[in-house]
Symmetry: C2
Subunit: 294 residues, 2 copies
Protein backbone atom coordinates (compact mmCIF):
# COMPACT_ATOMS: atom_id res chain seq x y z
CA UNK A 1 0.00 0.00 0.00
CA UNK A 2 1.29 3.45 -0.92
CA UNK A 3 2.50 5.63 1.91
CA UNK A 4 0.16 8.24 3.41
CA UNK A 5 1.40 11.63 2.26
CA UNK A 6 -1.35 13.96 3.44
CA UNK A 7 -4.96 14.14 4.56
CA UNK A 8 -7.66 16.41 3.19
CA UNK A 9 -10.72 17.40 5.24
CA UNK A 10 -13.66 19.25 3.74
CA UNK A 11 -16.57 20.49 5.87
CA UNK A 12 -19.14 22.37 3.86
CA UNK A 13 -22.87 23.00 4.09
CA UNK A 14 -23.78 19.65 5.50
CA UNK A 15 -21.15 17.63 3.65
CA UNK A 16 -18.06 16.09 5.20
CA UNK A 17 -15.21 14.65 3.17
CA UNK A 18 -12.01 13.06 4.44
CA UNK A 19 -9.40 11.80 1.98
CA UNK A 20 -6.23 9.90 2.86
CA UNK A 21 -3.85 10.70 0.03
CA UNK A 22 -0.63 9.27 -1.42
CA UNK A 23 2.14 11.50 -2.76
CA UNK A 24 1.24 10.61 -6.36
CA UNK A 25 -2.24 12.05 -5.92
CA UNK A 26 -3.97 8.69 -5.59
CA UNK A 27 -6.65 8.29 -2.94
CA UNK A 28 -5.78 5.67 -0.32
CA UNK A 29 -9.10 5.96 1.45
CA UNK A 30 -12.07 8.29 1.33
CA UNK A 31 -15.02 9.00 3.59
CA UNK A 32 -17.60 11.36 2.14
CA UNK A 33 -20.90 11.91 3.91
CA UNK A 34 -23.82 14.17 3.14
CA UNK A 35 -25.79 15.69 6.00
CA UNK A 36 -23.01 14.71 8.34
CA UNK A 37 -22.60 15.84 11.90
CA UNK A 38 -19.83 18.24 11.11
CA UNK A 39 -16.59 18.77 12.93
CA UNK A 40 -16.48 22.48 13.59
CA UNK A 41 -13.26 22.87 15.54
CA UNK A 42 -9.71 21.61 14.95
CA UNK A 43 -10.08 19.28 17.94
CA UNK A 44 -13.17 17.75 16.35
CA UNK A 45 -11.14 17.12 13.21
CA UNK A 46 -8.33 15.46 15.12
CA UNK A 47 -10.81 13.28 17.02
CA UNK A 48 -12.38 12.19 13.76
CA UNK A 49 -9.09 11.53 11.99
CA UNK A 50 -7.33 9.53 14.64
CA UNK A 51 -9.41 6.35 14.22
CA UNK A 52 -9.00 6.62 10.43
CA UNK A 53 -5.22 6.80 10.59
CA UNK A 54 -4.85 4.40 13.53
CA UNK A 55 -4.26 1.48 11.17
CA UNK A 56 -1.69 3.37 9.11
CA UNK A 57 1.97 3.27 9.88
CA UNK A 58 2.45 6.86 10.85
CA UNK A 59 5.20 5.70 13.16
CA UNK A 60 7.64 5.23 10.27
CA UNK A 61 7.30 8.91 9.40
CA UNK A 62 9.84 11.31 10.77
CA UNK A 63 7.72 14.36 10.01
CA UNK A 64 4.05 14.76 10.95
CA UNK A 65 1.34 14.19 8.34
CA UNK A 66 0.00 17.40 6.81
CA UNK A 67 -3.74 17.67 7.31
CA UNK A 68 -5.35 20.33 5.15
CA UNK A 69 -8.83 21.21 6.32
CA UNK A 70 -11.44 23.77 5.44
CA UNK A 71 -14.86 24.82 6.68
CA UNK A 72 -13.91 25.03 10.36
CA UNK A 73 -15.10 27.89 12.50
CA UNK A 74 -12.74 30.29 14.16
CA UNK A 75 -9.44 28.66 13.22
CA UNK A 76 -8.36 31.04 10.46
CA UNK A 77 -9.60 34.62 9.94
CA UNK A 78 -12.16 34.87 7.14
CA UNK A 79 -10.98 36.58 3.92
CA UNK A 80 -13.17 39.32 2.54
CA UNK A 81 -14.30 39.24 -1.08
CA UNK A 82 -13.36 40.25 -3.69
CA UNK A 83 -10.28 38.05 -3.26
CA UNK A 84 -8.72 34.89 -4.61
CA UNK A 85 -9.87 31.58 -3.17
CA UNK A 86 -7.67 31.06 -0.11
CA UNK A 87 -4.59 28.88 -0.47
CA UNK A 88 -2.06 27.41 1.91
CA UNK A 89 -0.46 30.85 2.50
CA UNK A 90 -3.68 31.97 4.19
CA UNK A 91 -4.08 28.79 6.23
CA UNK A 92 -3.68 28.75 10.01
CA UNK A 93 -1.48 26.12 11.63
CA UNK A 94 -3.43 24.73 14.53
CA UNK A 95 -2.05 22.46 17.30
CA UNK A 96 -3.83 19.12 17.65
CA UNK A 97 -3.88 16.61 20.50
CA UNK A 98 -1.75 14.27 18.36
CA UNK A 99 1.64 15.67 17.31
CA UNK A 100 1.71 13.32 14.32
CA UNK A 101 -0.95 15.49 12.69
CA UNK A 102 0.16 18.83 11.26
CA UNK A 103 -3.18 20.59 10.87
CA UNK A 104 -3.57 23.58 8.53
CA UNK A 105 -6.96 25.19 8.30
CA UNK A 106 -7.92 27.17 5.22
CA UNK A 107 -10.02 30.27 5.90
CA UNK A 108 -13.56 30.83 4.68
CA UNK A 109 -14.88 33.93 2.94
CA UNK A 110 -16.89 36.88 4.18
CA UNK A 111 -18.73 39.55 2.24
CA UNK A 112 -19.46 43.03 3.57
CA UNK A 113 -22.62 43.90 1.67
CA UNK A 114 -24.92 42.05 1.60
CA UNK A 115 -23.45 40.37 4.64
CA UNK A 116 -22.61 36.76 3.88
CA UNK A 117 -20.23 34.05 5.02
CA UNK A 118 -18.99 30.88 3.33
CA UNK A 119 -17.04 28.06 4.94
CA UNK A 120 -15.87 25.15 2.81
CA UNK A 121 -17.27 26.54 -0.43
CA UNK A 122 -14.10 28.58 -0.97
CA UNK A 123 -12.19 25.30 -1.36
CA UNK A 124 -14.67 24.06 -3.98
CA UNK A 125 -14.00 27.35 -5.79
CA UNK A 126 -10.25 26.81 -5.49
CA UNK A 127 -10.82 23.38 -7.01
CA UNK A 128 -12.86 24.81 -9.87
CA UNK A 129 -10.05 27.28 -10.64
CA UNK A 130 -7.56 24.38 -10.40
CA UNK A 131 -9.40 22.24 -12.96
CA UNK A 132 -10.61 25.17 -15.13
CA UNK A 133 -8.00 27.94 -14.92
CA UNK A 134 -9.39 31.26 -16.07
CA UNK A 135 -12.98 30.20 -15.38
CA UNK A 136 -15.30 33.17 -15.71
CA UNK A 137 -18.85 32.62 -14.60
CA UNK A 138 -20.92 31.47 -11.69
CA UNK A 139 -20.65 28.51 -9.35
CA UNK A 140 -23.89 27.21 -7.87
CA UNK A 141 -22.78 25.00 -4.99
CA UNK A 142 -25.84 23.20 -3.67
CA UNK A 143 -25.20 21.59 -0.33
CA UNK A 144 -27.40 19.63 2.02
CA UNK A 145 -27.75 22.72 4.25
CA UNK A 146 -27.34 25.77 2.00
CA UNK A 147 -26.74 26.75 -1.57
CA UNK A 148 -23.96 29.19 -2.39
CA UNK A 149 -23.94 31.26 -5.59
CA UNK A 150 -20.52 32.74 -6.34
CA UNK A 151 -19.47 35.07 -9.16
CA UNK A 152 -15.96 34.10 -10.27
CA UNK A 153 -13.78 36.16 -12.55
CA UNK A 154 -10.06 36.80 -13.13
CA UNK A 155 -9.14 34.17 -10.54
CA UNK A 156 -11.16 35.86 -7.84
CA UNK A 157 -14.41 35.44 -5.97
CA UNK A 158 -16.20 38.67 -6.88
CA UNK A 159 -19.33 38.26 -4.75
CA UNK A 160 -21.54 35.53 -3.36
CA UNK A 161 -24.96 34.86 -1.88
CA UNK A 162 -26.20 31.98 0.22
CA UNK A 163 -29.69 30.50 0.46
CA UNK A 164 -30.68 28.10 3.18
CA UNK A 165 -32.80 26.11 0.75
CA UNK A 166 -31.40 22.69 1.63
CA UNK A 167 -32.06 23.26 5.30
CA UNK A 168 -35.60 24.39 4.57
CA UNK A 169 -36.18 21.29 2.42
CA UNK A 170 -35.04 19.15 5.30
CA UNK A 171 -37.18 21.07 7.82
CA UNK A 172 -40.17 20.45 5.56
CA UNK A 173 -39.48 16.73 5.60
CA UNK A 174 -38.34 16.56 1.99
CA UNK A 175 -35.68 13.92 1.55
CA UNK A 176 -33.78 14.82 -1.61
CA UNK A 177 -31.87 11.55 -1.38
CA UNK A 178 -35.08 9.87 -2.46
CA UNK A 179 -35.44 9.69 -6.19
CA UNK A 180 -37.71 12.47 -7.36
CA UNK A 181 -39.71 10.91 -10.15
CA UNK A 182 -42.50 13.44 -10.55
CA UNK A 183 -40.76 15.76 -12.96
CA UNK A 184 -43.98 17.42 -14.16
CA UNK A 185 -45.00 18.40 -10.63
CA UNK A 186 -41.49 19.77 -10.01
CA UNK A 187 -41.52 21.84 -13.20
CA UNK A 188 -44.98 23.26 -12.52
CA UNK A 189 -44.11 24.25 -8.94
CA UNK A 190 -40.81 25.73 -10.11
CA UNK A 191 -42.53 27.88 -12.73
CA UNK A 192 -45.17 29.06 -10.26
CA UNK A 193 -42.61 29.97 -7.60
CA UNK A 194 -40.41 31.78 -10.13
CA UNK A 195 -43.27 33.88 -11.39
CA UNK A 196 -44.69 34.56 -7.92
CA UNK A 197 -41.89 33.98 -5.41
CA UNK A 198 -43.66 35.98 -2.71
CA UNK A 199 -46.28 33.26 -2.59
CA UNK A 200 -43.86 30.65 -1.29
CA UNK A 201 -45.39 30.17 2.18
CA UNK A 202 -48.80 30.02 0.56
CA UNK A 203 -47.64 27.45 -2.02
CA UNK A 204 -46.18 25.26 0.70
CA UNK A 205 -49.45 25.42 2.63
CA UNK A 206 -51.37 24.51 -0.52
CA UNK A 207 -49.19 21.43 -1.03
CA UNK A 208 -50.02 20.34 2.51
CA UNK A 209 -53.71 20.95 1.91
CA UNK A 210 -53.61 18.83 -1.24
CA UNK A 211 -51.73 16.07 0.55
CA UNK A 212 -54.42 16.22 3.22
CA UNK A 213 -57.53 16.61 1.05
CA UNK A 214 -56.59 14.86 -2.17
CA UNK A 215 -54.16 12.19 -0.96
CA UNK A 216 -51.43 13.74 -3.12
CA UNK A 217 -48.73 11.10 -3.62
CA UNK A 218 -45.54 11.52 -1.55
CA UNK A 219 -43.45 11.82 -4.73
CA UNK A 220 -45.65 14.69 -5.92
CA UNK A 221 -45.50 16.38 -2.51
CA UNK A 222 -41.72 16.21 -2.55
CA UNK A 223 -41.52 17.39 -6.15
CA UNK A 224 -43.74 20.36 -5.48
CA UNK A 225 -42.02 21.43 -2.27
CA UNK A 226 -38.59 21.21 -3.85
CA UNK A 227 -39.83 22.95 -7.00
CA UNK A 228 -41.33 25.76 -4.92
CA UNK A 229 -38.22 26.33 -2.79
CA UNK A 230 -35.76 26.06 -5.66
CA UNK A 231 -37.99 28.28 -7.80
CA UNK A 232 -38.11 30.98 -5.13
CA UNK A 233 -34.33 30.75 -4.84
CA UNK A 234 -33.76 30.99 -8.59
CA UNK A 235 -36.03 34.03 -8.73
CA UNK A 236 -33.97 35.77 -6.06
CA UNK A 237 -30.65 34.58 -7.49
CA UNK A 238 -31.51 35.60 -11.07
CA UNK A 239 -28.77 38.28 -11.19
CA UNK A 240 -26.31 35.46 -10.54
CA UNK A 241 -27.27 33.01 -13.25
CA UNK A 242 -29.01 35.01 -15.98
CA UNK A 243 -26.82 35.10 -19.06
CA UNK A 244 -23.89 33.54 -17.22
CA UNK A 245 -21.85 30.40 -17.59
CA UNK A 246 -23.06 28.36 -14.63
CA UNK A 247 -21.46 25.31 -13.05
CA UNK A 248 -23.77 23.42 -10.68
CA UNK A 249 -21.72 21.56 -8.10
CA UNK A 250 -23.45 19.14 -5.79
CA UNK A 251 -24.43 15.54 -5.30
CA UNK A 252 -27.33 13.36 -6.32
CA UNK A 253 -30.95 14.38 -6.63
CA UNK A 254 -30.50 17.86 -5.16
CA UNK A 255 -27.87 18.85 -7.74
CA UNK A 256 -29.98 17.27 -10.48
CA UNK A 257 -32.96 19.34 -9.37
CA UNK A 258 -30.94 22.56 -9.61
CA UNK A 259 -29.57 21.55 -12.98
CA UNK A 260 -33.05 20.72 -14.29
CA UNK A 261 -34.44 23.98 -12.91
CA UNK A 262 -31.73 26.07 -14.57
CA UNK A 263 -32.18 24.16 -17.81
CA UNK A 264 -35.93 24.90 -17.66
CA UNK A 265 -34.99 28.58 -17.50
CA UNK A 266 -32.89 28.34 -20.63
CA UNK A 267 -29.55 28.33 -18.85
CA UNK A 268 -27.26 25.49 -19.91
CA UNK A 269 -25.53 24.62 -16.68
CA UNK A 270 -22.51 22.40 -16.55
CA UNK A 271 -22.38 20.01 -13.65
CA UNK A 272 -19.64 18.77 -11.36
CA UNK A 273 -19.48 16.75 -8.18
CA UNK A 274 -18.79 19.09 -5.30
CA UNK A 275 -16.61 16.51 -3.55
CA UNK A 276 -14.39 16.20 -6.64
CA UNK A 277 -13.91 19.97 -6.78
CA UNK A 278 -13.28 20.08 -3.03
CA UNK A 279 -10.54 17.44 -3.34
CA UNK A 280 -9.06 19.39 -6.25
CA UNK A 281 -9.00 22.50 -4.06
CA UNK A 282 -7.39 20.69 -1.14
CA UNK A 283 -4.87 19.11 -3.52
CA UNK A 284 -3.96 22.54 -4.90
CA UNK A 285 -3.29 23.69 -1.34
CA UNK A 286 -1.16 20.60 -0.71
CA UNK A 287 0.94 21.40 -3.78
CA UNK A 288 1.47 24.90 -2.43
CA UNK A 289 3.28 23.38 0.52
CA UNK A 290 6.85 23.62 -0.85
CA UNK A 291 7.99 20.73 1.30
CA UNK A 292 6.43 18.63 4.08
CA UNK A 293 8.38 20.70 6.60
CA UNK A 294 6.90 24.06 5.58
CA UNK B 1 -69.31 25.00 42.79
CA UNK B 2 -71.60 25.38 39.78
CA UNK B 3 -72.55 22.23 37.97
CA UNK B 4 -70.65 21.22 34.81
CA UNK B 5 -72.93 21.84 31.86
CA UNK B 6 -70.70 21.26 28.89
CA UNK B 7 -67.07 21.09 27.77
CA UNK B 8 -65.48 22.98 24.89
CA UNK B 9 -62.35 21.71 23.12
CA UNK B 10 -60.47 23.81 20.58
CA UNK B 11 -57.52 22.42 18.62
CA UNK B 12 -56.12 24.90 16.15
CA UNK B 13 -52.76 25.63 14.58
CA UNK B 14 -50.67 24.67 17.56
CA UNK B 15 -53.10 25.88 20.21
CA UNK B 16 -55.19 23.70 22.47
CA UNK B 17 -58.00 25.00 24.63
CA UNK B 18 -60.25 23.04 26.98
CA UNK B 19 -63.01 24.82 28.91
CA UNK B 20 -65.25 23.26 31.55
CA UNK B 21 -68.40 25.37 31.44
CA UNK B 22 -71.40 26.03 33.67
CA UNK B 23 -74.90 26.51 32.27
CA UNK B 24 -74.76 30.25 32.95
CA UNK B 25 -71.76 30.64 30.65
CA UNK B 26 -69.21 30.94 33.44
CA UNK B 27 -65.94 29.07 33.07
CA UNK B 28 -65.42 26.45 35.81
CA UNK B 29 -61.93 25.57 34.64
CA UNK B 30 -59.80 26.33 31.62
CA UNK B 31 -56.64 24.84 30.12
CA UNK B 32 -55.21 26.76 27.20
CA UNK B 33 -51.83 25.87 25.80
CA UNK B 34 -49.86 27.23 22.86
CA UNK B 35 -47.68 24.88 20.80
CA UNK B 36 -49.40 21.98 22.47
CA UNK B 37 -49.17 18.36 21.47
CA UNK B 38 -52.58 18.29 19.87
CA UNK B 39 -55.24 15.68 20.17
CA UNK B 40 -56.12 14.81 16.60
CA UNK B 41 -58.73 12.11 17.04
CA UNK B 42 -61.86 11.86 19.19
CA UNK B 43 -60.15 9.18 21.30
CA UNK B 44 -57.29 11.60 22.00
CA UNK B 45 -59.84 14.13 23.18
CA UNK B 46 -61.55 11.66 25.48
CA UNK B 47 -58.19 10.57 26.93
CA UNK B 48 -57.30 14.18 27.62
CA UNK B 49 -60.66 15.10 29.13
CA UNK B 50 -61.12 12.19 31.50
CA UNK B 51 -58.48 13.31 34.02
CA UNK B 52 -59.91 16.83 33.92
CA UNK B 53 -63.43 15.72 34.71
CA UNK B 54 -62.41 12.93 37.11
CA UNK B 55 -62.85 15.21 40.11
CA UNK B 56 -66.24 16.43 38.98
CA UNK B 57 -69.44 14.75 40.01
CA UNK B 58 -70.55 13.50 36.64
CA UNK B 59 -72.24 10.61 38.45
CA UNK B 60 -75.14 12.81 39.54
CA UNK B 61 -75.94 13.56 35.93
CA UNK B 62 -78.55 11.48 34.22
CA UNK B 63 -77.53 12.62 30.76
CA UNK B 64 -73.97 12.59 29.41
CA UNK B 65 -71.99 15.84 29.32
CA UNK B 66 -71.94 17.49 25.88
CA UNK B 67 -68.39 17.95 24.63
CA UNK B 68 -68.13 20.30 21.68
CA UNK B 69 -64.81 19.98 19.92
CA UNK B 70 -63.25 21.37 16.77
CA UNK B 71 -60.00 20.97 14.87
CA UNK B 72 -60.01 17.16 14.86
CA UNK B 73 -59.07 15.23 11.76
CA UNK B 74 -61.43 12.90 10.03
CA UNK B 75 -64.34 13.07 12.46
CA UNK B 76 -66.66 15.34 10.48
CA UNK B 77 -66.56 15.96 6.71
CA UNK B 78 -64.97 19.31 5.83
CA UNK B 79 -67.34 22.01 4.56
CA UNK B 80 -66.34 23.75 1.35
CA UNK B 81 -66.20 27.55 1.18
CA UNK B 82 -68.02 29.78 0.49
CA UNK B 83 -70.21 28.71 3.39
CA UNK B 84 -71.22 29.79 6.88
CA UNK B 85 -68.93 28.86 9.76
CA UNK B 86 -70.06 25.38 10.78
CA UNK B 87 -72.47 25.06 13.71
CA UNK B 88 -73.83 22.19 15.75
CA UNK B 89 -76.05 21.02 12.84
CA UNK B 90 -72.89 20.16 10.88
CA UNK B 91 -71.17 18.46 13.83
CA UNK B 92 -70.56 14.72 13.91
CA UNK B 93 -71.53 12.74 17.01
CA UNK B 94 -68.61 10.50 17.80
CA UNK B 95 -68.62 7.63 20.31
CA UNK B 96 -66.00 7.89 23.06
CA UNK B 97 -64.60 5.26 25.44
CA UNK B 98 -66.53 6.93 28.27
CA UNK B 99 -70.32 7.02 27.83
CA UNK B 100 -70.55 10.03 30.16
CA UNK B 101 -69.04 12.17 27.39
CA UNK B 102 -71.32 13.07 24.46
CA UNK B 103 -68.75 14.21 21.91
CA UNK B 104 -69.77 16.40 18.97
CA UNK B 105 -67.05 17.39 16.53
CA UNK B 106 -67.46 20.51 14.42
CA UNK B 107 -66.11 20.20 10.87
CA UNK B 108 -63.27 22.25 9.43
CA UNK B 109 -63.28 24.10 6.11
CA UNK B 110 -61.83 23.25 2.74
CA UNK B 111 -61.29 25.45 -0.31
CA UNK B 112 -61.16 24.16 -3.87
CA UNK B 113 -58.92 26.75 -5.51
CA UNK B 114 -56.33 27.50 -4.32
CA UNK B 115 -56.49 24.29 -2.36
CA UNK B 116 -56.56 25.00 1.36
CA UNK B 117 -57.78 23.45 4.57
CA UNK B 118 -58.58 24.94 7.98
CA UNK B 119 -59.27 23.02 11.20
CA UNK B 120 -60.15 24.95 14.33
CA UNK B 121 -60.04 28.37 12.67
CA UNK B 122 -63.65 27.97 11.54
CA UNK B 123 -64.71 28.03 15.21
CA UNK B 124 -62.76 31.27 15.78
CA UNK B 125 -64.68 32.66 12.81
CA UNK B 126 -67.97 31.45 14.30
CA UNK B 127 -66.95 33.25 17.49
CA UNK B 128 -66.16 36.45 15.61
CA UNK B 129 -69.60 36.35 13.97
CA UNK B 130 -71.12 35.65 17.41
CA UNK B 131 -69.52 38.70 19.03
CA UNK B 132 -69.70 40.93 15.93
CA UNK B 133 -72.80 39.94 13.93
CA UNK B 134 -72.63 41.21 10.37
CA UNK B 135 -68.84 41.51 10.45
CA UNK B 136 -67.53 42.27 6.98
CA UNK B 137 -63.79 42.12 6.57
CA UNK B 138 -60.81 39.88 7.12
CA UNK B 139 -59.70 37.71 10.01
CA UNK B 140 -55.97 37.19 10.41
CA UNK B 141 -55.71 34.24 12.79
CA UNK B 142 -52.06 33.86 13.70
CA UNK B 143 -51.37 30.54 15.39
CA UNK B 144 -48.22 28.93 16.67
CA UNK B 145 -48.09 26.71 13.57
CA UNK B 146 -49.83 28.62 10.75
CA UNK B 147 -51.56 31.86 10.02
CA UNK B 148 -54.99 31.81 8.40
CA UNK B 149 -56.36 34.77 6.45
CA UNK B 150 -60.12 34.55 5.91
CA UNK B 151 -62.42 36.89 4.00
CA UNK B 152 -65.73 37.12 5.85
CA UNK B 153 -68.88 38.66 4.46
CA UNK B 154 -72.64 38.24 4.82
CA UNK B 155 -72.18 35.67 7.56
CA UNK B 156 -70.02 33.45 5.36
CA UNK B 157 -66.41 32.50 4.89
CA UNK B 158 -65.79 33.67 1.33
CA UNK B 159 -62.22 32.42 0.87
CA UNK B 160 -59.11 31.79 2.92
CA UNK B 161 -55.36 31.27 2.67
CA UNK B 162 -52.94 29.70 5.09
CA UNK B 163 -49.24 30.44 5.59
CA UNK B 164 -47.00 28.22 7.65
CA UNK B 165 -45.15 31.20 9.03
CA UNK B 166 -45.36 30.16 12.70
CA UNK B 167 -43.94 26.77 11.92
CA UNK B 168 -41.11 28.33 9.91
CA UNK B 169 -40.33 30.70 12.78
CA UNK B 170 -40.10 27.73 15.09
CA UNK B 171 -37.94 25.76 12.64
CA UNK B 172 -35.58 28.73 12.49
CA UNK B 173 -35.26 28.71 16.26
CA UNK B 174 -37.22 31.92 16.79
CA UNK B 175 -39.15 31.80 20.03
CA UNK B 176 -41.96 34.33 19.71
CA UNK B 177 -42.86 33.78 23.36
CA UNK B 178 -39.72 35.73 24.18
CA UNK B 179 -40.31 39.45 24.31
CA UNK B 180 -39.21 41.00 21.05
CA UNK B 181 -37.69 44.30 22.07
CA UNK B 182 -35.83 45.27 18.90
CA UNK B 183 -38.67 47.01 17.14
CA UNK B 184 -36.40 48.90 14.72
CA UNK B 185 -34.80 45.70 13.46
CA UNK B 186 -38.24 44.13 13.05
CA UNK B 187 -39.57 47.10 11.09
CA UNK B 188 -36.53 47.25 8.81
CA UNK B 189 -36.67 43.53 8.02
CA UNK B 190 -40.42 43.74 7.48
CA UNK B 191 -40.04 46.58 4.99
CA UNK B 192 -37.24 44.81 3.13
CA UNK B 193 -39.18 41.54 2.86
CA UNK B 194 -42.34 43.32 1.72
CA UNK B 195 -40.51 45.16 -1.02
CA UNK B 196 -38.47 42.14 -2.11
CA UNK B 197 -40.28 39.03 -0.85
CA UNK B 198 -38.44 36.77 -3.28
CA UNK B 199 -35.27 37.48 -1.35
CA UNK B 200 -36.52 35.74 1.79
CA UNK B 201 -34.08 32.81 1.80
CA UNK B 202 -31.27 35.26 1.09
CA UNK B 203 -32.37 37.58 3.90
CA UNK B 204 -32.47 34.70 6.36
CA UNK B 205 -28.97 33.68 5.33
CA UNK B 206 -27.78 37.26 5.75
CA UNK B 207 -29.15 37.35 9.29
CA UNK B 208 -27.18 34.21 10.08
CA UNK B 209 -24.06 35.69 8.54
CA UNK B 210 -24.41 38.82 10.67
CA UNK B 211 -25.01 36.76 13.79
CA UNK B 212 -21.84 34.88 12.89
CA UNK B 213 -19.61 37.74 11.74
CA UNK B 214 -20.90 40.68 13.72
CA UNK B 215 -22.15 39.04 16.92
CA UNK B 216 -25.66 40.35 16.18
CA UNK B 217 -27.62 40.28 19.45
CA UNK B 218 -30.17 37.45 19.84
CA UNK B 219 -33.02 39.97 20.15
CA UNK B 220 -32.01 41.52 16.81
CA UNK B 221 -31.68 38.09 15.17
CA UNK B 222 -35.17 37.18 16.31
CA UNK B 223 -36.61 40.54 15.29
CA UNK B 224 -35.11 40.30 11.82
CA UNK B 225 -36.15 36.70 11.19
CA UNK B 226 -39.70 37.38 12.33
CA UNK B 227 -39.80 40.64 10.36
CA UNK B 228 -38.60 38.85 7.23
CA UNK B 229 -41.07 35.98 7.46
CA UNK B 230 -44.06 38.13 8.39
CA UNK B 231 -43.10 40.65 5.71
CA UNK B 232 -42.98 37.96 3.03
CA UNK B 233 -46.35 36.72 4.22
CA UNK B 234 -47.92 40.19 4.20
CA UNK B 235 -46.62 40.74 0.68
CA UNK B 236 -48.28 37.54 -0.50
CA UNK B 237 -51.45 38.14 1.52
CA UNK B 238 -51.83 41.76 0.38
CA UNK B 239 -55.09 41.02 -1.49
CA UNK B 240 -56.51 39.94 1.85
CA UNK B 241 -55.68 42.94 4.01
CA UNK B 242 -55.29 45.90 1.66
CA UNK B 243 -58.17 48.32 2.17
CA UNK B 244 -60.02 45.88 4.41
CA UNK B 245 -61.21 45.88 7.99
CA UNK B 246 -58.80 43.44 9.61
CA UNK B 247 -59.09 41.66 12.94
CA UNK B 248 -55.86 40.08 14.14
CA UNK B 249 -56.62 37.16 16.43
CA UNK B 250 -53.79 35.49 18.28
CA UNK B 251 -51.83 35.47 21.49
CA UNK B 252 -48.85 37.33 22.87
CA UNK B 253 -45.81 38.48 20.93
CA UNK B 254 -46.73 36.77 17.66
CA UNK B 255 -50.10 38.53 17.45
CA UNK B 256 -48.44 41.79 18.46
CA UNK B 257 -45.92 41.37 15.67
CA UNK B 258 -48.68 40.90 13.09
CA UNK B 259 -50.56 43.88 14.47
CA UNK B 260 -47.45 46.05 14.38
CA UNK B 261 -46.63 44.91 10.86
CA UNK B 262 -50.11 45.71 9.56
CA UNK B 263 -50.04 49.06 11.34
CA UNK B 264 -46.70 49.82 9.65
CA UNK B 265 -48.47 49.23 6.34
CA UNK B 266 -51.17 51.74 7.15
CA UNK B 267 -53.81 49.18 7.99
CA UNK B 268 -55.49 49.76 11.36
CA UNK B 269 -56.06 46.23 12.59
CA UNK B 270 -58.28 45.47 15.54
CA UNK B 271 -57.04 42.76 17.83
CA UNK B 272 -58.69 39.93 19.71
CA UNK B 273 -57.51 36.92 21.66
CA UNK B 274 -58.00 33.85 19.53
CA UNK B 275 -58.91 31.73 22.56
CA UNK B 276 -61.69 34.17 23.49
CA UNK B 277 -63.13 33.98 19.97
CA UNK B 278 -62.78 30.20 19.99
CA UNK B 279 -64.73 29.95 23.24
CA UNK B 280 -67.37 32.28 21.80
CA UNK B 281 -67.65 29.99 18.76
CA UNK B 282 -67.94 26.86 20.89
CA UNK B 283 -70.51 28.60 23.12
CA UNK B 284 -72.57 29.52 20.05
CA UNK B 285 -72.57 25.85 19.05
CA UNK B 286 -73.61 24.86 22.60
CA UNK B 287 -76.56 27.26 22.42
CA UNK B 288 -77.60 25.64 19.16
CA UNK B 289 -78.15 22.40 21.06
CA UNK B 290 -81.86 22.83 21.76
CA UNK B 291 -81.67 20.74 24.94
CA UNK B 292 -79.01 18.64 26.69
CA UNK B 293 -80.67 15.52 25.30
CA UNK B 294 -80.40 16.54 21.63
Amino acid sequence: MARLDWIGVWCCEGALGVWLMAADGSVLDRHVLQEAAQPVTPDDVAARLLPLVAGMSLADRIDPVPVIACGLEGAAPLRTVPCAAPGIAEAARVPTPDPRLDLRVLPGLAQRQPRAVMRGGETVIAGLFAVAPGFDGVLCLCGAASTVWARLSAGEVVSFATFMTGEMLEMLGTDMNQQNDDRDAFTAALAEAMSRPAGLASMLSAVRAEADLDALAPAAVQARISGALIGAELAAARPYWLGQTVVVAGEGALAEAYGAALADQGAAPRSARSQDLALAGLTAARRQLASPEV
